[in-house]
């Protein structure tokens, strides 16, 4: 078991190296730091001195890969590649282009992101699975057909409209909760209700449909026929046997997204003014702060790979077939 985990961990290393190289090429080779400086300072009438000043200020005044002028090990470390890309492996994100410590910002901003993402995931899971079970219980009736039509219609609405509609109905029409904003501590709950409700509703369409397919596929299997043949009621078959066996794909599907919950949601957070990592990224994109975007790309990849790793481990825990082979 531990040998398996170690092997998976080692397998993640070359992937992270690959991601790091891709971001390096994307951010420093496609456009040189000079281009970046020109963009930041305004394209028209920018002097070479101004560019040099900007680069020195932000630490971009080094050679890309090899510094011939530096002594000893400095030939490798005193480069943009080492300073800006390799250091990411130690989660040293450096400072943003506006001079703030990115690592500190991330550690502060991930909590509001989690405060929304975790309830959305938990409530959404409960709602979707219950609804899907209900549909499967009434399969091939008007409940089934009507629900599927409703789900496809819900899938066809852009997420933006759920947010706009939610803000309009709950905040503007009924004044139940504030439209947007955030507060520290427990006072935050009233700002969280709306994003969570909208997030759950927006996910019902595709989520429930996916679970419905999952359950329906499960109900055609032999053990279900056996259970029915020995005289079990439909409800018992569904809730004990089908749900129990379908939990394996559900669980692994959830585990893979768990680490990514830290990243938050770009759209939700920017609409509701939540100071999480999603709106952090959006702000960085808007102000063209490359250091932050670079850090978030790397962080996102690490979390994704972590999710894959957790999925593998959870497989070995819940499915004896994987554990034994």
């Amino acid at each position: 078991m531990s040998a398996y985990i170690v092997r998976r961990l080692l397998y993640a290393v070359p992937i992270l190296v690959g991601v790091n190289l891709i971001t390096f090429v994307l951010f420093f080779v496609v456009n040189s730091p000079d281009d970046m400086a020109r963009m930041q300072l305004g394209v028209k009438r920018v002097t070479p001195e101004a560019i040099r000043g900007w680069k020195a200020e932000h630490g971009y005044d080094l050679p890309l890969l090899y510094n011939a002028g530096a002594p000893g090990l400095g030939q490798v470390t005193q480069t943009i590649f080492f300073q800006k890309s390799v250091k990411l492996f130690a989660f040293d994100f450096g400072t943003s282009d506006s001079g703030r410590d990115i690592g500190y910002d991330i550690s502060q901003r991930m909590w509001p992101s989690l405060a929304i993402a975790v309830p959305v995931l938990a409530v959404g899971l409960a709602v979707n699975i219950s609804y899907a079970l209900l549909i499967v219980l009434f399969r091939a009736t008007y409940v089934d057909v009507g629900s599927v039509v409703l789900l496809v219609a819900m899938m066809s609405v852009s997420g933006l409209f759920y947010i706009i509609g939610g803000q309009y109905v709950l905040s503007k029409l009924f004044h139940l909760v504030p439209i947007s904003g955030y507060d520290t501590g427990l006072q935050a709950w009233k700002f969280l209700v709306l994003p969570v409700v909208v997030g759950v509703i927006g996910g019902i369409g595709s989520g429930t449909r996916w679970y419905r397919t999952l359950f329906l596929e499960e109900t055609t299997k032999d053990y279900v026929r056996t259970a029915r043949a020995k005289g079990l009621g439909e409800r018992l078959v569904l809730f004990r046997h089908v749900l129990g066996n379908a939990l394996i794909p559900i669980l692994t599907g959830v585990v893979v997204v768990l680490p990514l919950l830290f990243m938050g949601s770009l759209i939700t957070e920017s609409f509701f003014g939540i100071p999480g990592l999603g709106s952090y990224t959006i702000d960085a994109i808007d102000s063209q702060d490359f250091a932050i975007v670079r850090a978030m790309v790397f962080l996102g990849s690490v979390l994704y790979i972590l999710g894959l790793l957790l999925t593998d481990i959870s497989y070995t825990l819940v499915d004896p077939r994987v554990r034994l082979s």
Partner: protein, 468 residues
Amino acid sequence: MLVILWTDGLIYLLVMLAVGFGLYAARHEHLRAPWRQVVRAPLALASLVVLGGYLTVGLLDTVHVRTNVAPEAGANATSPGGPILSLLDLWLTPLRERAEKTYSAPLATHGFVKEAIEQADGTVIRDYPRLTWGGRHLADPQRDRLADIAVRALLGVCAGLVCWALVVLGVLWLLARRRGMPLTATARDIAGGAGPIPWRTALATLGVMLTLAFAVAALAQVYHVLGTDKVGEDVLYQVLKGIRTGLVIGTVTTLVMLPAAILLGIMAGYFGGWVDDLIQYLYTTLNSIPGVLLIAAAILMLQIYMSNHEEAFTSLVERADLRLLFLCLILGVTSWTGLCRLLRGETLKLREADYVQAAAALGVGDFAILGRHILPNVLHIVLITVVLDFSGLVLAEAVLSYVNIGVDPTMNSWGNMINSARLELAREPMVWWSLAAAFVFMFALVLAANLFADAVRDAYDPRLRVGV
């Protein structure tokens, strides 16, 4: 003078591919049978009609021409002429040019915002100004507006019905000739819903679309049917222009990613060994970068490149078009991994199949086996992925444009419409028409695409296939 922009070229290519595939499928029973199943499902056929409507508008908007502004004598012949416009632009010229000053509600005759108006006697009052174009033919808007709208809409509906009746007659005549039955008997069959293909549903859908289109067209002659936006542009025009953007994102993205996904996927599955390892490494690495962030990074880089190389882009249209193409490319990069993985898995299975083994034993080369025996047998997966991805990509465009990393801000797209309309909701009274228009058009397209995709998947997925 015909101009072919980058995305235009790709769309033409796509149309040719689709026609080619259609001809190929028509001659191969195993591909024809699923399509027959698709068109026999009423919901899928109705969706197909709706998609056809969108496609028509999109294609009209794809044929671009460079209009000639009155050529001056002695002007340089090689200098670029007037602006690049599409056939749709030319056709909708009245809509395009009849701009108001600012917001106006749908079908309004007066502005939405009060203005200082100078009266004939020199006094200045604050009131809602008359629109420059909307309902300008009315002498007394208060009295005549509703009646005028009703009459025009009714006339439009009538014209639509006449047009629809002609189409129905044409279809009936064709069917009657093919079945060797009299016209009335065929009509009775269709009205009763008999026969394998649900013509009744298709014709009813077409009827609704035609009457709506004609009614809107009749009203659009003298009103802004969906109102105007902040700078006074007609919303109906914008939302129609958005169709092409949505279609391009939904289709060209898949087109540009297909070659890589297919080639790498079947190669990984077929050859195994280090080739498989390398390709798996490649797509795992790309897949592990969150899609939105990769797109954001790439678009930021493109913006830098464009602002540093302004001289390379001669016109706004070309610039926006290149950005659209680039967006398709980068969306393709983030979305090819799923298909690649599916194809790899399927090829792994096919590699062990008897006919592949037999071909290999007979000495057929690897690439001949890939092309002749493997590729045709994984095409159904490609097709299912293409149609399933479409709606997701259309929705993605809106989200990306909202975050400002989508299409060019000057380009008409539903995402840009939503983006610019989000502040309008906070106004009192609310400016709702831009959002509503984008919502309705997007919803109809995505819903039709989803329903159609489901039918295609059901027909092509061997696990779900019944009685074929």
